[in-house]
Structures are given as C-alpha cells and as structure tokens.
C-alpha cells in the first residue's frame, strides 16, 4: 500500500474526533477483551484464526481512538495498545473490516458487554472510505448505482424490454389482458422496487410478484429508471454516496406521487432505505416504507389473496436475512408469510434473531478478493440447511439467494432457493 498522506489521515481521524452523539464514544470504550464473542462469528468459527475474533475488529478502530483521542493513549500508547494510523494499519483494516465481516451483527447480541461490534466495523469502514481505500470491486458496484441509478448499470431500454417481456408472459399465464406490469404510472398506491439482478438474470421473481399484485388487485407501478432497492453505500460506508443512492427512491416516490414505497426482497436494501435512508438524508420521510413480506401479510390477513397450502408438497425452511430480522425486527412477519403458503415448514438451528448470516452479506458478494473466505464461512449455513432436510429454502433477499445458490452448488445441498414472492405465487389461488 502507498504511504498515507496527512490529508488522508486527517480525514479518517475526523470521524473519531468529532462524534455526533454518545454512541461512538461508548462502543469504542466498552470492550473489555474478554474474548467471549469469538464463537459467535462465522469467520472465527470456520477458520479459527484469532484475527477474525469480533473483538479484534473492534480493537483496530478502538486502538486508533485511544491513540488520537485519549490522554492515556497519547502519553503511554504501549500500555493500552494505542496504534498509529499508518499504511500497515490501513492494510490490516481493509483486510479485516472489509474482508472479514458481513456486518451481520450476530456477535453484538452475544457480546458480554453489549459492544455494537458491527457498528464499530462500519465506523472503521467509514474511515477507510474517507481515505479512499474501499476495495475497487465494492466501489465499482456503488459507482454503477451512482452513475446509472442501478448497481448493474442496466440501460433503461433493456430494463423496459425485460419488463414488457415479463408482462407478456403474465398475460399469457393469467389469460387476461389486464394482468399488467405498470411502468412509470402516477398516483398509485405502491411504488415497487427490485434488485437489479432480477431484471438482469432472474426475472421470474418479478413476474411472481406481479402475479401477487394482480391477485390482490393492487394499484402499483414500477419505475423505469429508479427501481433499484439496493444500496451498497451501506457497505462501502461512504455515507455521502449512500445518501445520493437513497435519494433516488425517495425522489421517485415524489415524482410518481405514490402513496407508499414497497421495498423489494433485499435485506441490506430494506435496511438502507427503511432505517438508514432518513438518517443519510437527515430528514423524516413523509411516506411509509414497508417490505414485501409485510405487504403480503396484509393481503393474507385481509383476505385480498388466497393461498392453498397443499400445492407445495416439499419441506421448506427459511433463511433469515440479518438486516430484516436481527437488524430489522421482522422475525415473525417473515414467518407468517412463509407459513401461510406451505405445510411442511422447519426452522434452522439457530434461527431468527440468532441466525447465522448466509456469508454473502456486508458487500462480500461484490468483493472477489475475499471469495474463498465467503465460501468457507458459508459452510455453516450449508450444514444448517442440510440438517433441516428441507428441499426448498426461502429467503426474502436476492443477495442471500445468490450466496445460497453458490453454497447449494459447492456443498451439494440439492435444494431450490426461492424468494418469498415466488413461494407465495406458487401457492396462490387465482379467483376469476
């Protein structure tokens, strides 16, 4: 790594020196090095290298804090392991904070003190982002979203063609000219959003949701330009860029005058819009945002759609996306949707707030350089799935879907991976 300039260092340290509230100072002072978080992290669990222990990740940032922001660290750095911010340190930070954490937050819940480890890792990433040290692969995905409005740089006509294609298929299947996938229509109830990998490579989940909307007689629309629910700014931790991306959807709701923003099946995207978006933009949103699962539950509870549980005969399990469940409070919302559609449902062990990440979170899917680690830590999830005996794994996150597809292949699980929209569409009874 090149020598850090003083300007880079100053920018990074500013994040530590000017805390906005008491949260940062708290979490940087709280870890007591008891080491009991080690076994909660899939990186340590699967590779047993002590640099992967969550506390070591906190320590990277906290040691800088002590060096530059505490008296003891300034006077006697050796005593409290206060470290200088130099190339070696920065390199270590990139490798560990970007390359060995999925920001799943599992360790947080298990820490004996209550250190928000994932939050501290994100602060560390913020510092690296301020120094321009985000891994190029991850930054490329953010840049694509910044310049084109979607993280796969799909040109608008190609997107529109795909949606038209899916609409034709839907009309065919429903045998109804009114089975539509509306684009850019104003004054609808719902602006629906997608993960770009759906139109690009896996459009069946789009038609599945269109079928659900059709059955529920929903007034909805997609945008032909701003439909991307993802926000990799949550992962490169450049809050300014994350804010620009979050604004895309916020403004599109306004332009199309939709009543509500429905967040497509994407864990981090839901978090980035629902929980972080208003904070990136520093304002409350004057419309509601809900996830697909919550919307579908409304349909089921109010009888707007009918499901037949006997259609799906296979055993089904669910993978809890970290940002929807542990970091999003949707534990039972997700279960209600899935259990309404299938008979034979089994939980993984552990599950819910205590689940293990699929291994692809935190931007890991985008960062090729850490691919081996990603597949290795995924073994935990793979074995969890295997033990359930299920043949279908449902997960409301296309990022998880991609990781699970790879795990399925690599660890020879022989399962099908589906989104919630797809499993609901499969169980849907269309009343004419």
């Amino acid at each position: 790594m090149e020598k850090l300039s003083q300007e880079q260092i100053d920018k990074a340290l500013k994040i530590l020196k000017m805390p906005a509230d008491s949260k940062l100072v708290t979490h940087l002072n709280a870890c007591v090095h008891c080491g009991l978080c080690a076994d909660s992290c899939m990186y340590y669990k699967s590779m047993k290298e002590d640099k992967f222990i969550p506390a070591r990740k906190v320590e990277l940032v906290a040691s800088l804090y002590r060096r530059y922001c505490t008296l003891t660290g300034k006077i006697a750095p050796k005593l409290v392991n206060a470290r200088d911010l130099d190339e070696k340190m920065a390199e270590e930070m990139v490798d560990i904070l970007f390359g060995a954490c999925t920001l799943c937050g599992r360790c947080v819940k298990h820490c004996s003190i209550g250190v928000d480890i994932a939050y501290v890792v994100r602060i560390g990433r913020q510092m690296l982002a301020a120094m321009g040290l985000v891994p190029a692969t991850l930054q490329a995905t953010v840049d694509a979203a910044l310049t084109t409005g979607n993280n796969m740089a799909i040109p608008t006509e190609e997107f529109v063609d795909t949606i038209k294609w899916m609409e034709e298929e839907l009309i065919d299947e429903m045998q109804d000219e009114n089975a539509r996938i509306p684009l850019d229509e104003k004054d609808k109830n719902i602006l629906y959003t997608l993960n770009p990998r759906e139109p690009k490579f896996f459009p069946l989940s789009i038609s599945a949701m269109a079928k659900v909307f059709y059955a529920a007689k929903e007034s909805w629309t997609l945008s032909s330009t701003m439909y991307d629910v993802t926000n990799y700014g949550l992962f490169n931790c450049n809050d300014e860029e994350a804010g620009i991306i979050a604004r895309h959807l916020h403004d599109e709701v306004k332009i199309l005058n939709a009543k509500m923003l429905v967040l497509g099946e994407c864990g981090h995207g839901s978090r980035a819009n629902r929980w972080e978006g208003p904070n990136y933009l520093g304002m409350k949103y004057d419309f509601d945002m809900i996830t697909v699962a919550e919307l579908i539950n409304d349909y089921i509870r109010s009888g707007r759609i009918k499901l037949d549980k006997t259609i799906i005969k296979e055993r089904v399990t669910m993978h809890d996306p970290c940002h929807l469940v542990r970091n999003g409070g949707l534990l039972n919302e997700l279960r209600f949707a899935v259990k309404s559609a299938v008979n034979d449902f089994v939980e993984m062990n552990p599950h819910g707030n205590d689940n293990f990440c699929c291994g692809g979170g935190g931007g890991q899917l985008a960062m090729s350089e850490y691919n081996d680690r990603r597949i290795k830590i995924g073994e935990i999830k793979a074995e969890q799935i295997r033990k359930t005996g299920a043949t279908i794994v449902v997960t409301p996150c296309h990022n998880c879907v991609d990781q699970l597809m790879q795990l399925n292949h690599h660890y020879k699980l022989n399962v099908k991976i589906k989104s919630i929209g797809e499993i609901i569409a499969d169980a849907l009874v269309i009343e004419k």
């Binding site: 692969t137 490329a140 995905t141 694509a144 993280n151 796969m152 740089a153 799909i154 190609e158 063609d161 795909t162 294609w165 993960n195 770009p196 990998r197 139109p199 690009k200 490579f201 896996f202 459009p203 069946l204 993802t230 994407c266 692809g360 899917l365 985008a366 960062m367 090729s368 350089e369 850490y370 691919n371 081996d372 296309h398 990022n399 991609d402 597809m405 790879q406 292949h409």
Partner: protein
C-alpha cells in the same frame, strides 16, 4: 491452465485471452462435463454481447437469441447465468449481487 489468471471469484482477469479450451475447463469446474450445442449457443450470445457492448446481456436477450426458455437456461448452468454462463464465456465478474 496454470498461466491463466482468475480473480478471487474465478472470473477471468483478462477476458481478452478467452478461448474455447478455457471455456471447457471452467465448465468442468462447475460440474458441466460436456458443453452441448445449447450451452455453446448461450455462451456465444454472452460473448458477442460482451465484445459489442462491454457487458453481459440481459437474460431476455439470451432467451430471445437462443430460443431457449428461462428455465432451460437455469438448468443448463446450475450456477445461473452470471456465475455460471458469464464466467464460462470469459467475462469479468458483473457488479451487484452476483
């Protein structure tokens, strides 16, 4: 294949060096022992699109040009169009959640 460079995800670092032999080798890694005519038709569409436009084609384009159904493509490439087909066609890794 020792001299050929892959990124951490197994995608070609230099897509320019791609050739039929490399495709066959990558396919084997993915558990595809024999590349059938159908496989090749998908691979060629992806490859040509990449050479022309600098990116992987939409799945719609692949379906249209090969006359294959979506589900058939997913069956041909168990790792999917991105990690499966695009990798075999020697493209760099696409951005986003793939």
């Amino acid at each position: 294949m020792a001299q050929i460079e892959f990124d951490g995800d197994g995608f070609l670092v230099n897509p320019g060096i791609w050739n039929v032999d490399i495709a066959v080798e990558i396919a084997k890694e993915d558990g595809i022992q024999n590349l059938t005519e159908q496989h090749w038709s998908v691979i060629h569409v992806i490859r040509n699109n990449y050479l022309e436009k600098g990116m992987a084609p939409m799945i719609r384009v692949i379906c249209k040009e090969t006359n294959l159904k979506l589900r058939e493509i997913y069956e041909l490439f168990p790792l999917g169009p991105a990690r499966g087909a695009c990798r075999i066609a020697g493209l760099p890794k696409p951005d986003g959640c793939v």
